[in-house]
Structure formats: structure tokens, C-alpha cells
Amino acid sequence: MTTRNAEDEIAPPASWDVQGSPKFARSSGVGADDVFKWLVYTTAFAVPAVLVALFVLLVIDAWPALARFGLGFVTSSNWDNVKQQFGTLPYIYGTVVTSLLALLIATPVGVGAAIFVTEYAPRPLRVPVSFTIELLAAIPSIIFGLWGFFALTPIMRSTVEPFMKSVVGPLPVIGGLFQGPSVGKDLFTGGVILSIMILPTIVSISREVLLAVPTMQREGMLALGATRWEAIREAVIPYARVGIAGAAILGLARALGETMAVTMVIGNSSRKITGTLLTPGYTMASAIANQFTEADNPLYFSAIVGVAALLLVVSAIVNIAARLMIWQISRGGAEGGNRG
């Protein structure tokens, strides 16, 4: 199967220059073209400049803490303003646990919803369903927080958490995740609210990736007598696998940096790390939100900015990884359907 790159047809070459442009045509003066060009160039380079400034400024402010604690800044779990010891491990832990939990919940639901939209839904339902889910992305974080604070946490405390404790709690190993009093404001609730917030990201990208799977893939399976689900499982999902993983990781990137919604439901307490999800915690973002304006001595301030710098680096890495994966599936699609 030969394919052509869509860009060849609709898009111009990467750059077009008016080298042959006759001088007499420049009615607006000799400099206008250059002025506009430099305006555009300046704004374009403002973007990397912001990124560099962001990183540099954060590292400068974080330096006293980073220099003083070294590796201990990320490996110590002692965050103690009184004793001037700052280790961010509980915040990193909280971020990782809530984000992974969010992924664990949102990926099956999100991919399921995307499969529903692309493979199962009757035509009239497709656009409304995907639009409705993606509409979640337009809701501000603070409103998720408000809803989580007043609607979700009471349900988590009174119903969901006792249920998990009684059903999952007695099991070996994973039972350890559901121990302790049901507080309602804890890592578990933080993960749940995050899963809702990253759902639209996962749905929309999975949907795109699934739509990019060549129809031939499905037709082939169906022609062999497969059921619809078997066609999806054997021909569609393997083909879209990398892209779906990219979708999940982009969701992860969003989860890592979410602030307000998590801050309002996670309990904001840097108690020592235990295995259970039913414990109030902090994410890096919520620690910054709670403590940044309060850091009333230089080392404390530096440590909090250090958390911000850490968060910046981690989310950059995750974003890059996600984009590489999605880029790969898109390119893979362009190369033709020879996978799966």
C-alpha cells in the first residue's frame, strides 16, 4: 500500500521565501517586510526564552536547598521547618501514587470510552459522547476541587473507602493499600479526582489513535470470522498500543502538575510514608500551593522553590516521553498499516 504524506498536499514547504520578489512591488517601503519578519522572530524566540528563564530562575532560588541537602533533597522524607531539614520524598511519593492511581482508573475507562466512540456507538451518538467527555477538559481545576471537596470526599469517606477496606483490605499485598481510618481526604481521593481530570485527555487522544488504525485491520479480522471484540483486541488495540500508551502518559503529565483540585481533597499532610492509600498526603504541586507564600525563612523558601524546580523537570520529562510515543504512532500510521 502506498501512502502519501497529507502535508505534501495541503501544507507549504517548511519555509517559503520571497527571494524572487521584485523590489518595485514593495509598495509599503523597503523595511516593512523586515520589520514584520523581526517582530515574528522576536515573539517566536520569546517562547524558548520564557522556558529558559523559568528554569534558570527556579534553579537559582532553589540552589541553597539543593546544595545543602544534595541527593537527600529527594531521598529524605523529613520535611521539618523547625529543624531546617527539607526532604521532598513524601511529596514525590504523593505525586507518584496519586498520578499512577489516576492512570489506573482513567486508562481503562478512557480507552473503553474511546473504543465505544470509534467502534461500537451508533453514528448519532459518536460526536455527542466524545464531546461530552472532552468537555470535562474545559472545566477549571478549582471547580473539580470544589466538587471534590463537598461532593466526593463525603462519599469516599462514608461509602467507598469502608467498602474498599472490607473487600480489598483483607487480601494479601494489595490489601495493604486500604488500611487505616477512612478520612475521605487522602491519596485515594486525590487519585480519583485526578482520574476524572485526565479522562478527557486519554479519551481524545485514544480516539484519534484508534481512528488512525486502518480499516483494513478490522476488516481482515472480521472476514476471518472474528467477533467485533476479537477484531478490536487482536487487530485494533495492538496497532494503537503505542499511541494509547502515549495518551496515558500525556494524562500522567497533566496529573503530575494538577494543583487546586488535588489540594482540596488530598489532606495536605506530610505524614511519613506508609503503604496505605487511606492517608492524607501531599503532592508536589499541593505542597507548593500550601507552603509557597508561607515560607518565612530563606532555606524553607529555597526548598519550596526546589520542589517547583523538581516538578518542572519531572513534568518536562514525562511530556517529552508522551509526545515521542504519540509522534511514533502517527508516523507509524503514515508509513502504512503493517503492524499488529
Binding site: 515574528v40 470510552a113 466512540v117 459522547v129 472480521l222 517529552i320
Partner: protein, 298 residues
């Protein structure tokens, strides 16, 4: 575009053999998975309506004229509203757009029309990275840059700058994408008439992509309008009307947060009311964008 809906999915295996047990089991498994997948979609859809429903039902009692015209009152006094936050949010957003739109637009134009080779890749990559910077980190950055040094205190302008930083990558991404959709032949035609490149961009390319660009701008503004975390660190909030960008200014998300975490039921109602206003503002912005682009899309 491939349309999977017209494919012969429903064709049952035409087999001369009677359905055997394995076939039934597979069929059942297929139905079961279809059920699970439908449930997943239902969950996704219902969560949205659940949240919107909450906001509307619990926010509606807070809405009255005072809510839009009065400033917040101390606890214990009846009435009051969030007017300074509404004007503050609009002011901050306007200034943020004033900063963010030219930069985003310029960068998008660069990527689509001027840049070449690896520089484009680098700038696009940087823009993606800026898009991925957690908003709270943007707040820390702007605090360190503007609140601490340049302006010297919590201020509206600092909030506007942080929102602009959040807007820019969204604008860049959309503008680049829609400009690339403008057929190259249009540019060629204009150039052939002897129009200089900058005029081609401004008078031919941008107008052809107007609908998409406006949508992108409004999307960016709507997104920034709901941001809370960076504002908490930069504009601080204000319960009085303030138009001075060098002083703290109120904003709906900050007021919402203050109302929400307070222990007073009356303030909780106001928090839901503020949420309703915030969602409505975002909705209105989007509708405006739709109206503005409606004629264009056909």
C-alpha cells in the same frame, strides 16, 4: 475519512454449521466486553453531568443581582457578592490576552510561515514544554520575577503575565495548525501579484484562517480564566474593586477558593455561585467564539 460505521460488522458469520459452544462463548464474551465498554463511556459522560449538575443546582441559590454588583462582606453580614472578582478576572484576562495573543500569534506565524529546519522543531518543542509546565510552577516563576522584584508586590500585572504564559503555547499550537491548513496556492497567487510576504501573511493567510485562529485565542483565554494556582501566588486577591494593575486585584477563582475552604455554609453557597459564574463566563466566551466563526466555517 474512513467510516467504520458502514462496515459489515453486524454480519453474523454465515455458517452452514449450527452455532457450537465455543462460538456461543466467544459471542458472549464479545457481548460482555461491549457491555463493559459501554459502561466506560457512560461513566465518562455521567461524570461531566454530575459535576455540572452540582454546580448548577448548588450555585443557583447564590445568584441574584447583588452577587454581580456587590463586594464580599465580612462573615455574619447578609448579602454581598463577587463583583470585584468578576471585574478583576475580566481585567486580568484582558491584560493577559494583550500580552499573550501577540506573542502566541507571532510565534505561530513564525512556525507556519517563516521558520525553517531544526529551529522550527526546537521552538515547537519549547512551546510544547511550556504547555506542559504545571500552572503552579508558572506562578512560582512569576512570583520570583515580578512580585518579588520588578513590581515589588502582589499585583494584577503579575497575575496577567502568569496567565499569558499559560495562554501562549495553546495559541501557538492552534495558530500553527490552522495556518498550515491554508492552501499554499493562495500564498503563491498573492506573491505572483507582487505582494510582499508580510502583506501576504496579514492580508491573505491570516484572514483565510480567521475562524480557526479566533477559536484558538478564545480557547486559550477560557483556559486561563479558570486558572487559580498561579493567581494565588501572584495577584493575591482583593475584596474591593481595583483597577490598578500594580496592586492586588480580585479574581473569581481566588474568591471561589476563599469561599469554599471557609467553614460557613453561606459562603459555601457563594462558592458554588462563583463556580456557576466561572463556568458561565467560560461558556459565554466559547459561544462568542462560535458566533464569530460561524459565518466563516461555510
Amino acid at each position: 475519512m474512513a467510516d467504520t460505521g458502514t462496515l459489515p460488522y453486524k454480519a453474523s458469520p454465515v455458517s452452514p454449521l449450527a452455532p457450537d459452544r465455543r462460538y456461543l462463548a466467544r459471542k458472549f464474551h464479545g457481548r460482555f466486553m461491549a457491555g463493559l465498554i459501554t459502561v466506560a463511556a457512560l461513566v465518562g459522560v455521567s461524570v461531566l453531568w454530575l459535576i455540572l449538575g452540582y454546580v448548577i443546582v448548588r450555585g443557583a441559590p447564590a445568584i441574584n443581582l447583588d452577587f454581580f454588583t456587590q463586594r464580599p462582606l465580612p462573615y455574619g453580614e447578609v448579602g454581598g457578592g463577587i463583583a470585584p472578582s468578576i471585574t478583576g478576572t475580566l481585567l486580568i484576562l484582558a491584560v493577559a490576552a494583550l500580552i499573550g495573543v501577540p506573542v502566541g500569534l507571532g510565534c505561530g506565524i513564525y512556525l507556519a510561515e517563516y521558520g525553517r529546519g531544526s529551529v522550527v522543531e526546537v521552538i515547537r518543542f519549547c512551546s510544547d514544554l511550556v504547555a506542559g509546565v504545571p500552572s503552579i510552577v508558572v506562578g512560582v516563576f512569576v512570583w520570583a520575577l515580578l512580585v518579588r522584584h520588578v513590581v515589588g508586590n502582589f499585583s494584577g500585572i503579575a497575575g496577567a503575565v502568569s496567565l499569558a504564559i499559560i495562554m501562549i503555547p495553546i495559541i501557538v499550537r492552534t495558530v500553527e495548525a490552522v495556518l498550515l491548513l491554508v492552501p499554499y496556492t493562495l500564498r503563491e497567487a498573492a506573491l505572483a501579484l507582487g505582494v510582499p510576504k508580510w502583506r501576504v501573511v496579514i492580508s491573505v493567510v491570516l484572514p483565510s484562517a480567521k475562524a480557526g485562529i479566533i477559536t484558538g485565542l478564545v480557547l486559550a483565554i477560557a483556559r486561563a480564566g479558570g486558572e487559580t494556582a498561579p493567581l494565588l501566588l501572584t495577584t493575591l486577591g482583593n475584596q474591593f474593586f481595583s483597577w490598578n494593575l500594580l496592586e492586588p486585584i480580585g479574581a473569581i477563582p481566588i474568591q471561589l477558593y476563599n469561599y469554599a475552604v471557609a467553614p460557613y455554609p453561606d459562603w459555601h453557597t457563594k462558592a458554588w455561585g462563583a463556580a456557576l459564574v466561572l463556568i458561565s463566563v467560560i461558556g459565554v466566551l466559547s459561544t462568542l467564539a462560535r458566533v464569530a466563526t460561524w459565518g466563516q466555517s461555510r
